[in-house]
Structures are given as structure tokens and as C-alpha cells.
Amino acid sequence: MTSFQWIAFAVLGVSFAVTLTLTVRRVIAPRVGFAWALLWIAAAVFIAKPELTATIARAMGIGRGTDLVLYFAILFMIFGFFAVYVRLRRIESDMTKVVRELAMRSAQEPVVDGEDRGRVSGGGE
């Protein structure tokens, strides 16, 4: 085994263990944990048997195994960015709803004759 393989296996092993722990503790959904676990296993397999990527690459019409890995890595990253972006927009819109609700509940009356009456009690005309 090359030294790179030792390092990679160590990193992947830790990642796998963390994924497993988070899944068991229900920090992440089982579905998500399973997807990550699959990714770590696939990475380990390809690092253990690099010639496998070359075989798959040729079958898919891509010259080299490393190119195959690179292309898929880029695709996953684009998908990842998109997923994060969608989630961010949802969080932003939820945040606006919370901020709006708070603002409406604590509406402040105008100051009349220098007297600040603070919040409006209740709504309605």
C-alpha cells in the first residue's frame, strides 16, 4: 500500500465512523447517512483499486480514470451548492416570517405630546 492510501483510508474511516454515529444518534436522517456512507465506501474502493476507475472510465467513453473521478466530483459539488442555495433561501424566507411576526406583535404607537405610549395593545380599529 502506498502512503497516500494509508492517509486516505484513515480519513475515510473517521468520516465513516462519524457518519455512523450521527445517523444512530438521529442527528442526520437515515437516508442522508446512507448516502454519505455509500460515498465513503465508493471512495475507499476506488483508492484501493485505482485501475477500477480506468475500466469504468473507458466503458463510459472517458479516457482516464482520474478524469472520471474529477468529473463526478465536480457534478456532486455543483449539486451540493445548489442544494445549499435552495436551503438558504428557505431559511431566509422563514427568517423574514419570524421577523415580521415579531414586528407586528410589538407595533409602537406614535409619540403624542412628548409622551411615548410604547406598544399598541391589541389590534383592531
Binding site: 431566509e92 424566507s93 421577523v99 407586528m104 406614535p110 380599529e125
Partner: protein, 222 residues
């Protein structure tokens, strides 16, 4: 009673005068302080406005929706949106509401290009015209001024509005929703006054590109 909704962000310098003029004309004024770090809230309250305060800045679209929702809750019959930087004229409010009172329209939109402007730079005019062309194409609304903060809604029309683009792209979004809901709209000539203050506080022309991106993404993600 007419409720005037004013979204304001760090406008302590100008908002007081704007509020005082509108209150003086007998309107109920609702200022939405969009998380300002200056004295916007107290300036508005001292001059007779009801103030809703966003705990953190959420953008002008979000502030408008908050103000409109509150005006509806307080039983407003007509809701007018108005800018906080003093570029609009308080006397235009009655002209905007007139077609609604006459049941001719559900929504009226202020147009500086049908009306008049002072102090508008050539670049600003060009950017606004480009925005008008784009928005006409995107929403199908036949209007001459798409990015004017001065608008009026009947209660029923305002209740149909659901502004979800929190930042500046709401101007196009409002037009989209007017068309989608089949609301009757009419443009009313208004006067827009650009001052050194409003030019400093307003949107830069570069920001227009960000607004465009926000709008396109928002439409596409809906």
C-alpha cells in the same frame, strides 16, 4: 381612512419630515423600520407614525409586506406605499387613491414618466427605462414606470398581494402579481424629486444587476 406604508432603513434624517407631511394631511402612517441602526424609529414616532420594527434587516420587499399586513389587520380601506427618503410628494396620495374611490381600478401605480421629475440624472433615467422594458416583457404589465415606490391598493387587492422577494426585486414581483390576479390597474402621474440625499441613499446602478438576478432566480424557483 388611507393607510400609508413607508419602509425605512437608516432614514432618520428624512423620514420625520415625510411622516409629518402625511400625518398633516390626515393619513394613518405606518413606518416599517427595517432594522435601522440610527434613530429612524424615534424620528417616525415623534412625527406621528405607528412604527413596526424588524429586529434585523430583511429588505424593502419584506418591509412592505409587513406594513401591508399590519395595515390590513388595522382595517385599512386603502393602502398607499410611499418612499422614506422624501422623493415622493404627499399631495400625490389623494390622486393615487381617486381611481380606487371611483371603483375604476384596484391598484394605482405612480409614474414619474407620465408625471414629472426634478434632479434625475441621465444614467438613472436610462437604467429605469431599461428596467421598464424588461419588466413589461417579463410581467406583461403595460406601464411606463416599473420601479416607483408610490402605489395604492384597495383592501381587497392588498390582501391578494404576497411579496416573497425580500429585497429590491419586489417591484417586478408586485407587477407580476397584479397581472396574475387580474387586478385592474391604472397609472397616475406623480412627481419624483431627486435630492442629493435621495441620490446618496438610493440604489446604485450596479445594484440593478443584483436586483435582476434576484428577480430571475425568484421567478424560476417559485
Amino acid at each position: 381612512m388611507i393607510s400609508v406604508v413607508i419602509p425605512a432603513y437608516n432614514e432618520a434624517e428624512a423620514v420625520g419630515g415625510v411622516v409629518a407631511e402625511l400625518v398633516g394631511r390626515g393619513h394613518r402612517v405606518i413606518v416599517v423600520d427595517d432594522g435601522s441602526r440610527d434613530a429612524t424609529t424615534s424620528a417616525a414616532k415623534r412625527n406621528g407614525a405607528i412604527v413596526l420594527r424588524h429586529a434585523v434587516n430583511r429588505g424593502q420587499g419584506a418591509a412592505l409586506q409587513t406594513g401591508i399586513a399590519y395595515a390590513l389587520k388595522r382595517g385599512a380601506e386603502f393602502i398607499v406605499t410611499f418612499d422614506s427618503d422624501g422623493q415622493h410628494a404627499a399631495e400625490d396620495v389623494d390622486a393615487l387613491v381617486a381611481p380606487l374611490l371611483a371603483h375604476r381600478a384596484d391598484v394605482t401605480l405612480g409614474s414619474r414618466f407620465r408625471g414629472s421629475t426634478e434632479g434625475m440624472t441621465a444614467l438613472r433615467r436610462m437604467m429605469l427605462k431599461a428596467a421598464v422594458l424588461f419588466t413589461r416583457y417579463a410581467s406583461g404589465a403595460r406601464v411606463t414606470d416599473t420601479h416607483n415606490g408610490l402605489r395604492a391598493f384597495t383592501r381587497a387587492a392588498a390582501a391578494k398581494l404576497d411579496i416573497r422577494l425580500d429585497r429590491m426585486a419586489h417591484a417586478s414581483e408586485i407587477l407580476d402579481q397584479i397581472v396574475q390576479h387580474g387586478l385592474r390597474y391604472e397609472e397616475v402621474p406623480v412627481h419624483v424629486r431627486y435630492t442629493a440625499y435621495s441620490r446618496r441613499k438610493g440604489q446604485s446602478s450596479i445594484a440593478a444587476l443584483r436586483i435582476l438576478a434576484d428577480y430571475v432566480l425568484g421567478r424560476w424557483m417559485r
